[in-house]
Symmetry: C2
Subunit: 137 residues, 2 copies
């Protein structure tokens, strides 16, 4: 069960790395109740708004790669919560060839099981701006 | 049912506004699986780490007030997801009397029902850094 959720979570990041909007659409639950926060973005709600954001992001991302850390999976009945760190290597259109930016994001991914499949219900990513204990230095 | 979840969510923010650590401790599920992301922070996991962060934040916050926007509650069995915007008015110790800072955060709050009570299982807050459509301007 936990392995199935881990696989669904991995497919979410694989679909993003592949910049494949159809794969990304299949990751998400087919439900108007889904919501998504891209790191630094406002809350997006509903399948139309969420998928439009992925189309926009993929169109502006020539390359992205994730290394996940501290992946924790909690399965509770038909719901599963995955929390993880996303260590991101990316390029954007404006940076020109060869330039890569790196970033650190923490993510909460909530999956629900429907018809035996784990589908993404909510993604909340946020930039890590403070390290604990650094704020007084 | 939705009203009970809304009340639990309101109590989370009321406990923070009251800077009352005991009330905050009662809001959270008594479970090692809880996790919390304060806006801009890394992921904190487990009751000890989460409650230590609240003690630290409350000790450094002389005043904080929330106006919540777009509160959406979804109840699914023993789980409930609340998403909302937090419009924050705050002061910190270093700013001196009379200075207030304002900020905009989006939050995901996941509640679970145990013994008839809705308790907070996961809080994920993140700063809103980009407004959609502004990135090309």
């Amino acid at each position: 069960m936990t392995a199935d959720v881990e696989a669904a979570n991995a497919e979410f990041y694989a679909a993003f790395e592949a910049l494949d909007l159809d794969r990304m659409a299949a990751v998400w639950a087919d439900d108007p109740g889904i919501s998504c926060v891209h790191a630094g973005w406002p809350m997006l709600r509903g399948r139309a708004e969420v998928m439009r954001s992925w189309a926009l992001i993929m169109a502006n991302t020539p390359y992205i790669q994730f290394v996940l850390t501290d992946v924790t999976v909690q399965v509770r009945g038909e719901h599963a919560v995955v929390t993880c760190g996303e260590n991101i290597l990316t390029a954007d259109d404006e940076s020109g060839t060869g330039f890569l930016a790196a970033g650190s994001v923490v993510a909460t991914n909530l999956f629900v099981r429907a018809d035996g499949e784990w589908r993404l219900w909510l993604h909340h990513g946020s930039p890590v701006l403070n390290q604990i204990g650094d704020d007084e230095e």
